[in-house]
Amino acid sequence: MRTTSTVVRSNFIVLLSLSSTLFAGVPAYKFDKSFGQNEIKAPPVCVAMDAKDRLHVLLRNGTVMFYDTDGKVAGSFKADMKPVPTTMAVAEGRIYLLGTEMAEQTREFQGKKVKVSEASGVKCCVFDAAGAKQAEIKLAGVKSATDAHFVGDKLVVADFSQQCIAFYALTGSEGKMTRKISNVFRLCCGIFDFCPGADANSIVVANLGAFKVQTFQADKKFSEFGARGEKEAEFQGCCNPVNVACLADGSIVTVEKSPTRVKIYAKDGKSEKLVTGLGELVEGCTQIPIVVDSKGALYLASDQKKCIVKCVPGAADPAATAQPVSPSEK
């Protein structure tokens, strides 16, 4: 017996090079094949950039890898902490690893009582670049950590379980929550990503269940764009975008899964440009963490393909984009 079963994930679009002239103000990007050497052996779950443009990659097994500005691995350590960290923030030479503690709860599901493991708290451990533990910080008020960044002097944590973003002032081993944004996020698939905005103390959130990118300033929604639809400017899939990043000029990078699409939007969301040549970085509902460096290069993490993909400013080479490249085949 023989059956045929094909999964269509996407029709990967190869943009006409002409399109780069159509959206003034939105930079063009191309896939940089030269980055990395397939040295990542476990799924990457988070990427972060320090002030010296050194890429930090957190792997699912708790290993933190550092890349120098030439794209070479400069070091690594395996964090000795439980729970295993799921996200990371870096500041002033320190690496803040956050893990979600789980607790067993009894829930009723379709008339039956079942025991489920649910997020119950967040543990934050601070390491130096050598992997030496410097501190352990209590973050009261959040149950899970799906993303974390420093915004100004505050450690900001995205909590999927409570669908909120919490701001913490850190003093020694204590984190005091100074404010929280909640009741406005429509999240799903366990994905909740944000990034520091171009304006001081602002954050940009991938509100994927609402198909929107939203900028918050002083806890208030300042601006938003996005809708589900089949046009390039719109978001596809069951929920998107999954990840966001901000460029220095205020442009917003969005990342969609199933199909994988990376787009650079003008700050107001009114024009956009698709980054070509990436292929499918993930299948199904999986996030694709992203971070940018000071030169505007994009670094995308695919946990399924165990790779980091780099995209740099510049017009795409039509020859390079004609055949979508699988990063694992570099």
């Binding site: 059956t3 996407s10 996020f185 799903c188 269940g209 609402a210 809708a227 199904g284």
Partner: protein, 320 residues
């Protein structure tokens, strides 16, 4: 001779079904039903039949969002194997996670049939040469074949009936979603109810988000939205109350293009699907499988310029 007779009968049936044209007439029956004069045309049962079918199913693990992975565990593998072993019918399934990609494939006339919400294919009856007929309806995990559009408001809201929508704001679907667009718009028109503002979004999540954000007073969503869509991760059914519901329509159907598949083959597929359903339904179908298609005569697709027409208006665009 027998084969020739069957072919003639099939041609006659096809003409009867399609009104002598190669496209669905307005308000046509979308279910594949036997001609009133007699039984369905018979085909040689042992002739292998191979059909290319495009799939986008709410409960299929290959096409559903992972946030409903607990309930969207359906697989068609056992069904395909059973049809091949017992009926010499081979279904070549192509799975589409993104319904927009499926729509493009339908417009490109790439498949013999589709397994999806029927309007996904039927909405193009005036744009393609395809003549889709619903061979069978697929039962959901609760063994229900039908769904509807529901008018939801927040549980504590003052809106109680459809008439209360007069002068209010409502979020609807776009034209590619019959239960969220055509059906509710017809209800509003029939009740002479004029909302102050209508917004047309492409997903239940956006409609619910608009309601939760206070941008609209009422949101129309698919009846499964609170149990089998991404909304399960950010809402609870008790947060809402239902003020009205559209007429029921098929949730998921297997449709074949009668311009590609002879009617006799379509009836043979129908019989085979029913044969491997009910008590014989494979467990990985999640329910009792297929049933005869319910009668459904949707209103023809809107003409260009109508509110919410797919591709004709921007998502979230307001009509005041």
């Amino acid at each position: 001779m027998k084969a020739a007779f069957s072919a003639l009968a099939a041609l006659g049936l096809l003409a009867a079904l399609a009104g002598g044209e190669d496209r669905l007439p307005a308000n046509a029956e979308t279910a594949l039903v036997a001609a009133p004069s007699g039984a369905a045309p018979q085909a040689a049962a042992q002739q292998p039949l191979r059909l290319k079918i495009a799939v986008n199913d709410i409960y299929c693990r290959k096409t559903a969002c992972s946030c409903i992975s607990q309930i969207a565990t359906r697989s068609f593998d056992s069904l395909v194997a059973g049809l091949q072993a017992r009926h010499q019918i081979t279904l070549e399934l192509t799975y589409f996670m993104e319904v927009f990609d499926l729509q493009k494939a339908i417009l490109a006339n790439q498949y013999d049939g589709v397994l999806c919400k029927p309007w996904t294919a039927l909405q193009y009856s005036n744009k393609t040469r395809a003549c889709f007929k619903r061979v069978a309806d697929l039962l959901d995990p609760n063994d229900t074949a039908l769904m509807s559009g529901v008018f939801l408001t927040l549980s504590g809201a003052s809106v109680r009936t459809l008439a209360d929508l007069q002068g209010k704001r409502v979020a609807l679907g776009q034209a590619d979603s019959y239960e969220k667009n055509q059906a509710p718009l017809q209800m509003l028109a029939a009740g002479r109810i004029n909302p102050a503002e209508m917004m047309f979004f492409s997903s239940c999540g956006e409609n619910l988000s608009a309601l939760l954000d206070g941008k609209v007073d009422v949101a129309v969503v698919s009846s499964y939205a609170l149990t089998a869509s991404c909304a399960v991760d950010f809402t609870k059914p008790e947060d809402f109350k239902t003020i009205a519901e559209t007429a029921e329509m098929p949730l998921t159907s297997l449709l074949v293009d009668l311009n590609k598949v002879p009617a006799a083959a379509a009836f043979r597929l129908q019989a085979a699907l029913l044969d491997v359903s009910g008590a014989k339904a494979p467990k990985d179908l999640l329910g009792k499988g297929f049933v005869l298609p319910a009668s459904w005569k949707p209103t023809p697709p809107p003409v260009a310029g109508d509110a919410g027409q797919a591709g004709g208006t921007n998502p979230g665009e307001s009509a005041k």
